[in-house]
Every structure is written in C-alpha cells, then in structure tokens.
C-alpha cells in the first residue's frame, strides 16, 4: 500500500521549526498565580514541626499549603504517596509545602521563610539494605491500608512493595543437565528521563466546581481518573488538556504535579495557578528511572543450550511505588530475555528505599534487566566456548517455545529473532569476540545483545478514534494519543490514509488532547499507541467507509457492493465515470433535484485489549501483553587499553518491525533510542551521597550525550506481521534503548578484559575494576 511504505514528514513539522508549536508552559501566564514547592533536604526524616506563619506574612502570598491540608494518599497502583509529605519525608526533594503567590518572586521569598524542623532518620539507598533485618520500614501501612488491590503483592512489615515469581520446569533437574554455569551480581544506579521539557502543570477550578488542568502528561485520562478518585470529584467535572509534549520517555506518565497544581488552585478559591518547576526540582522531586540489583545464575548443556536459570531482580523503586510493581512484574515475565529456558526459577521484588521514587522509563525496566541478563549470556557463551552471537542463535526463542509466563510463541506474537540475528551478522560484519588491534594501545571490538519487550498494560486498556470531515472533503482525525515526539499522530494519519486510499495531505490531525473532546486512550506509553489507537482508527475508517457507501448507494440507486472508494471519491466499480467527491457527500448528499440523502458522516472506532490475563501468583502463568517485539543490537568501539577511554564507532539494531509504515520514521525512532541507550550506558546516573542527597541535580552535573561523540547508527528491519495489529505493525518506539547498555558492556568487558557488572561504563569504572584484577 503506497501510503504506508512512504516516508512522510511529521504533520506538525512546520509548527516545530517556526516556534508555533505550543507546549504546556507556552500559553499566556497573565492573570495566573504562581506556585512553587518547598522540598525536603533530607533523604529520610521525621517532620517535627512546620511553621508557615512568616511565609504567610509576605504581601502577595495567597496560600501556603502543607501535607495536612490535603491528607490524601496517591498512587496509581498502591496508594502510598501523600500529595505533600505528612509527618515524614522519604526522599531528598520530596515536596513538603507549596506556596501560591501573585508572582514567582513572592512565592520564592515566602517559601524561603517556611521553617521546617526535621529529625533525620537512617537512610537506605540499596535494596539489599532495605531487606536486612532491622531496616527501617518506609511504609508500615502498605498491605494493610488498601487491601483490595489486584495483582500487587506487598509484604506487610517489610520494604517489599510487591513480589512476583516464575516457576517452570524442574530447576534441580535443569542444573543437572548443565555443563557450564555462570553466577553473577549486577548493580545499576538510578538515572533520569531528562526530557528536554521540564514537567509542569496548571490548574483552575470554576465556581461550579469544574476542574481544568493543563499538563505535560503522557496520561491525561489517568490524570482525570486519579484526581477524581483522590478528591472525590465526579470525573465528568474534570477536564485535562495536554498540548504538545517536549519528550516523555515514560517520565510524564506518573501523576504528581497535576495533584499539586490542583490543591494549589483549591486553596486559592479556584484561581488559575501555574506550578513552576525548575530543572533541579524536576531531577530531585519528580520520578526518575529505577535502580536495580540482580543475581543471575545461568547454565547451559554441552551443546550450548540453556537448561536452567535462577534469577532474582530487586527493583529499587525509591520512596514510593508508583508504577514500579508493574515493572517488577514485567521483569519477572520477560526477565529471561528472548531465550527459551525450560527450567526457570525467577523472583522479582519491588523494594522501597530513600531514593527519589521511580516511574516508567523508556522500555519499562527492560533496558535494566537486559543489561544483567545479556552480560550473563556473554559470560556463559565464553564458558561454553561458543561465539556469543552463535550462542544467542542457539537459544533464541522460536515459534512453539514457551515464554516465561507460558505463552506459546507464534510468528505473529513474537516475530522472528533468528532472522534478526542472521541479518545483524551481515549488517555489522560480525567479527567475533577477539579484539582487533589497530594501534599499539588501541583495539576495536564489538559487543552484542538481544532485546525483547512486551507491554504490561491493564488487561482492559482502551483506545478510540473519531473522524469528522471538512467542507473540502478532507478528514480530521481525533484520538486521545499525546504527541510527545514519537510521531504517533502522523503514523495514525498514515494508517487512516491507507484505509481511505487517500493522500495523507487530506488527513488533518488534532494535536492537543482534551479529555472531554478526545476519545479515551489509556496512556501514551508502552509503545502501544500504534497497536491500540491504530486498531481504533481502522475501525473508525471502516465506519466512515460504510456510511459513505450507504449514502452513495442511495444517491446512485445501486448496491453498496458495487461501490469503490479511493482518492477522495466514491464511484461505481464498473463505471468509474459515475462518481461523487467526498466534499459532496460527507455532509449528507444533496441530489441534483434538491432531495437530501443520508446524513453527515461521523466515524467512530473503539478498541479494547483482549485475551490478557493476570499472572498466576505461584507460577507466573498468564498473558501479560498482546505481543513481543524482538531484535538484536551490536555496538562497535575503539578502546584505549592504557587510558580505559573509548570511542563509539557504530551501533546497529535489527528489529522485527512487523510491517513498514514510514520506514524513515522507524529508523529515526530506533536511532533515538540507541542514542539514549548510549547516554545511559556511558555517562548518566543520579549520584547520591550517603545521606541520600542528589549530587548531580543540574545539567551541568548530570551529563547527557552531546553531538559529536555518537557512533554511526544503522538500522535493519525484519518484517513478520503481527496479525491483530493494523497492517501487521509492531510496537517499537521504546525499543532502540533496550540492548545498547548490554552490548556496550559486552564490548568493553572484552576490550578491557574485565567483567562489567555496573553502569555507567565510564573510563574510571573500567579502570577501577581492572585494578581489582577481576575478569
């Protein structure tokens, strides 16, 4: 289908290069009050006293709010997080008070006058410490307060927010079949999403109680539901607006600032309030990427087939659980990587610590466990004496194999990893494991990692699409998907254009999301928008086509089957000269004699996930997501053996994309993911001191990759259609990141002859482990 394979420009391109594109904070601020937060300087402490009286005394201050003013508990899965800290702070940066004032200067002046007396408590920054006997329990009430949550298993009296397990086969028998084994411990520190647009929100409440929130959210419908639930407001009273979003990467799916903006407005009689968040606050206070500890034991038989695995993931979710229990579940259900392992014993714990709390991050934890698992895979390949790429081929999951949660693989639901591996071998000219000497001190090496991912949405997540027409016969496509860079709206327009057999220029998309006007779309996360909203768009298109046929059949006085629709017209197949243009028919048809026929065409399509199930608590059996996307990545670099510095040369991804829609856009999305993976692997981390205070709260200190240090990015595609997805496409917006840290770790471990078990892979880290003489 021509409209599908075509490279099309983003629909919003010219808006984005002229400054016309509007993001949350780009709307007029006149008439708005400003709110600023006061945050905790301690990683863990009791709040003994808060004195706001001096802050109130500043002229222009409209409200000073503390936790006790709104004693609600928030949280998308477990309600463990107060809107503002009450009695206790659990991370450095936690919001403690909120000042609302006429302007920002006044708000800041007043904020600095709030006196808070703290009594510091012991700080836990490592899940291993959090699980020790006698460790302070961060949430004594969890597991008691809201006992009816589903699919979450907090362990009361511990710091475990949830626990999942996978039990399959006979683990002891599995070990007996193994000839080679590895057992490794890994540690990954937290890092941040660092979308270039800082998170923010605005709120106002009308006299009759209508709440209007404008936010940088990836999940406007979730904002609406959560605010309704926490503050007991009928959801219909709440409208949530999301204009363009300046990058999300999962970090804007959590509902936090919207709650603060809402209570700020509530406290000033509903006046419009703009919450101002600085980059420093965003880094310290708003949720970040998880941190992970893991233990991986893998064994293979003499042919190199993996027979057994014992895996434990301790996901450090920080001070509050947010969506992290689901990420722990995802790690359990996909934590073997895309390999078939007959005997499997896996535990995944979501553990509280005093880090900034974590939320979804591009690929929902897959980038983290993949680092651990794929490092272990390389070690086991070496032990077995098999080339690491070959070793992955031997173990790659194939149709008929069972996933860890015992879903049977088919080409449709898991694609073709074997084909990806074969393709990458050529694309990257795989050189095997031996570093190639290029200068006395320099070697060139490659490292490989596979990737897979399935989403872990609620089993009943929904999406929708609506289509209306303009007088020129062009279409307006309206969905609840947020545009934050992944090009979803353009992709959906392309799907619609293909269904309508129409040029994409005839499709207009509605960019902003307004929860009153747009059909609900669960959340713009998990790379599921193409699948879910795409299916809804197809249905809406069918609806439109059917309506047009009905009207045309009356107009032509023929059978609907005799009609064909393409290029903006409907015509009789056997007599193309007998046609009607969309513009003449979509508002209802006026016959030459003046008779009116039909009615305006309005398309609707709805979609709901089907066939997913909650995992069995004992064995983990169940279907967590609609499908898996598989792929393989290779990183090639030049390593300086004396300095432990390195230069990236190439980064390759071969991924099963299902089907090609906008090939250029696919490559760019994957390359962007790879770039983020390289940043994560090589330099990014949130460095905390032992009292839990962030050492790198600015972009001066939290280092991102700049231009000029990137490798050349190359993307190869394999196409195994996913049958239940529009035109067979697969999810892939997050996936470019997943295997890059592992591929880099594998390359560097070989180059430096060390065993990398951490991130980021800085020259100093490589040097320090080489000093310890391990390998």
């Amino acid at each position: 289908m021509s409209e599908l394979r075509r490279n099309v420009q983003r629909k919003e391109s010219w808006d984005k290069v002229t400054g016309n594109a509007k993001y949350c904070d780009d709307f007029s601020v006149s008439g708005m009050l400003t709110a600023r937060i006061l945050t905790s300087p301690h990683g863990h402490a009791i709040i003994k006293r808060i004195d706001t009286s001096s802050a109130w005394s500043i002229p222009g201050v409209k409200a000073v709010i503390t936790g006790k003013d709104f004693p609600v508990l928030c949280g998308v899965l477990l309600r463990d997080r107060p809107a503002l800290a009450i009695d206790r702070v659990r991370y450095c940066g936690e919001p403690v008070a909120l000042v609302v004032a006429l302007d920002e200067e006044t708000a800041l002046k007043a904020r600095d006058l709030i006196q808070v007396e703290y009594e510091p408590l012991p700080v836990i920054l490592d899940p291993a410490d959090a699980l020790k006997e006698g460790a302070p329990i961060l949430h004594p009430q969890v597991g008691v307060l809201f006992p009816d949550v589903k699919d979450i298993y907090p362990i009361h009296g511990t710091n475990i927010a949830s626990h999942y397990q996978i039990r399959r086969g006979e683990i002891q028998a599995g070990w007996k079949a193994c000839e080679y084994q590895v057992e490794e411990d890994y540690y990954l520190p937290p890092s941040d999403h660092l979308a270039m647009e800082v998170r923010t929100a605005r709120a106002q409440i009308s006299a009759d109680g209508k709440v209007k929130i404008t936010t940088t959210s990836q999940a406007p419908f979730s904002v609406k539901k959560q605010i309704a639930e926490y503050f007991k407001i009928p959801a219909g009273q709440i409208e949530v607006h999301v204009p363009l979003v300046g990058g999300g990467f999962g970090g804007k799916a959590s509902v936090m600032l919207e709650i603060l903006a809402y209570i700020a407005s509530r406290k000033v009689g509903g006046r419009p309030v703009r919450l101002v968040i600085t980059r420093e606050e965003d880094l310290q206070s708003a949720p970040c990427r998880l941190s992970l500890r893991s233990k991986i034991k893998l064994g293979a038989d003499c042919q190199g087939k993996i027979q057994a695995a014992e895996i434990t993931y301790w996901l450090d979710c920080g001070a509050y659980s947010d969506i992290a229990p689901n990420m722990a579940k995802s790690m359990a259900s996909n934590g073997t990587g895309p390999y078939y392992i007959p005997n499997l014993f896996c535990n995944s714990f979501c553990v509280y610590t005093n880090h900034t709390y974590a939320t979804s991050y591009r690929s929902f934890g897959h980038e983290s466990f993949t680092y651990c698992l794929e490092r272990a895979m390389d070690r086991l390949a070496d032990r077995s004496g098999i080339d690491p790429l070959e070793f992955r081929l031997i173990n790659a999951i194939r149709p008929g194999d069972l996933t860890p949660t015992q879903v049977q693989c088919t080409p449709s639901n898991t694609g073709n990893l074997v084909a990806c591996l074969q393709k990458v071998k050529d694309l990257a000219k795989w050189q095997g494991t031996a570093p190639i000497k290029i200068e006395p001190n320099k070697v060139r090496v490659q490292g490989v990692s596979c990737l897979w991912k399935s989403a872990s949405p609620p089993t009943n997540a929904v999406s929708g699409a609506m289509i209306t027409f303009n007088p020129d016969g062009s279409l307006n496509l309206n969905t609840g998907v947020v545009e934050m860079g992944s090009g979803n709206k353009t992709n959906l327009a392309q799907i619609l254009a293909a269904k309508m057999k129409l040029d994409i220029s005839q499709i207009h998309v509605v960019y902003d999301v307004d929860t009153r006007l747009n059909p609900e779309h669960w959340k713009t996360v998990a790379s599921l928008s193409g699948y879910m909203a795409g299916n809804a768009v197809c249905q809406a298109a069918d609806d439109v086509l059917e309506q047009i046929r009905t009207i045309a059949a009356q107009a032509f006085e023929c059978q609907k089957q005799e009609l064909e629709i393409a290029d903006g017209m409907v015509f009789i197949k056997n007599n193309p000269n007998c046609y009607l243009l969309f513009k003449d028919i979509v508002a209802g048809y006026k016959a030459p004699d003046g008779r009116s026929i039909g009615e305006p065409v309005l398309g609707r399509g709805g979609f709901m996930l089907k066939g997913l199930s909650i995992l069995d608590q004992e064995t983990g059996k169940g279907k967590p997501g609609p499908s898996w996307t598989v792929g393989v990545q290779i990183v090639e670099l030049e390593f300086d053996k004396r300095d432990f510095t390195y230069r990236l040369i190439e980064a390759y991804t071969v991924i099963d994309c299902g089907a090609l829609i906008n090939p250029q856009a696919i490559s760019e999305m994957i390359a962007g993911g790879m770039a983020m993976g390289i940043g994560l692997a090589s330099r990014e981390y949130l460095s905390y001191d032992f009292q839990g205070v962030l050492q790198s709260p600015t972009l001066r200190t939290y280092k991102l990759l700049h231009i000029g240090q990137e490798p050349d990015y190359r993307v190869g595609l394999v196409q195994t259609p996913q049958e239940d997805a529009p035109y067979g496409i697969r999810s892939l917006s997050e996936h470019g990141i997943i295997g890059i840290p592992a591929a880099l770790g594998n390359a560097l471990s070989r180059a430096a002859k060390v065993n990398c078990t951490q991130l980021p892979l800085t020259p100093e880290y490589l040097w320090s482990i080489s000093q310890k003489g391990q390998a």
Binding site: S13, W14, T18, A21, D25, E197, L244, E710
Partner: protein, 161 residues
C-alpha cells in the same frame, strides 16, 4: 552611564526587527521577558542554567543562551528569535526535510545556532559545525538527522546577504 535602579523599569528592545517595550526588573532574564511579555515562546527553558541550549536566540548575529542574559543587557542590541526567521531560513526547511526533531522542544535552540552558523561561517567545516552544535542537547533524536540537516545547508554555500 546607562543605569536601571528602580524596582521596575521600562525598556525598549529590538526584537525581530521590531521595537518592543517591556516593564522589567533589572534582574529579569531575557528568556522570561521574551516568553512572558512578548509571547515569543519559541525560545524554551530546558535548564535555565546555560547547559541545554533550548533557549538560544541570536544577539548581534551570534548565538546566546537567553537564560543567561539579563533583559536590560539586551537594550541596544539586536535580537532574533525563531519567530523572526519566519520560515525563511534555509535551516528551517532543512530541519523539516531531514526530520531533525522528534518532540521539537530543542528545535528552536538548535535552529538559532544553525542559522547563526550559516550567517556567520557558511564555510564552516565539520569540526567547527560540531563545535557550535555541541552547545545544545537533543534528547529525542540520534543527532544524525540534525547533523545532516546542517550539512545540507552548509553544502549549499549560499551567497550571504
């Protein structure tokens, strides 16, 4: 001597070829004045610390980060923002053609650096181009697309106005 000592003062700025008045505090940032008083929201705050470049504008021909400039300092200088390019700079078209953005948040800043480079040093080699572009961060793209867009403009080696 040129001085602003009052709490608030009236200034006149030359922005995109127009004289604009604003009432500012001497400590107000040019970025905030452009955005909040002139509605020129193309320049974006990403860090307000000089690190990300998304607030970049052009002052007297050179790129500067408007989060590190006082509005009063800009009096007597010419300011160009992305809105002032009005779709006519070849870098804008190149960014569209080469898909040099995803979320678009960093784009205005990158464009201003690129436009200044094209105006000031249209003969720049790759090293110099990289050097200029390293002032900005893009979190979405792989940089490859931005690089290609800028290269395509430099290759045209235009007659400078």
């Amino acid at each position: 001597m040129f001085e602003f000592t009052a709490d608030k003062c009236l200034i006149e700025l030359d922005v995109n070829g127009e004289n604009k008045n604003a009432i500012v505090r001497p400590s107000d940032l040019l970025l905030d004045v452009l955005r909040n008083q002139f509605g020129l929201t193309g320049a974006k705050p990403g860090c307000k610390n000089g690190d990300c470049g998304s607030c970049t504008i052009i002052m007297d021909g050179w790129p500067v980060k408007s989060c590190l400039v006082l509005a009063v300092e800009a009096v007597g200088h010419t300011i160009l923002t992305v809105e002032g390019l009005a779709g006519t700079s070849p870098v804008q078209k190149a960014f569209v053609d080469y898909h040099a953005f995803q979320c678009g948040y960093c784009t205005s800043g990158f464009l201003m650096v690129c436009h200044s480079l094209w105006m000031m040093k249209s003969d720049a080699d790759e090293e110099e181009m990289e050097d200029w572009l390293q002032s900005n961060i893009c979190r979405c793209t792989s940089y490859k697309e931005i690089r290609k867009a800028m290269e395509s403009v430099l290759l045209q080696n235009p007659q400078k106005s």
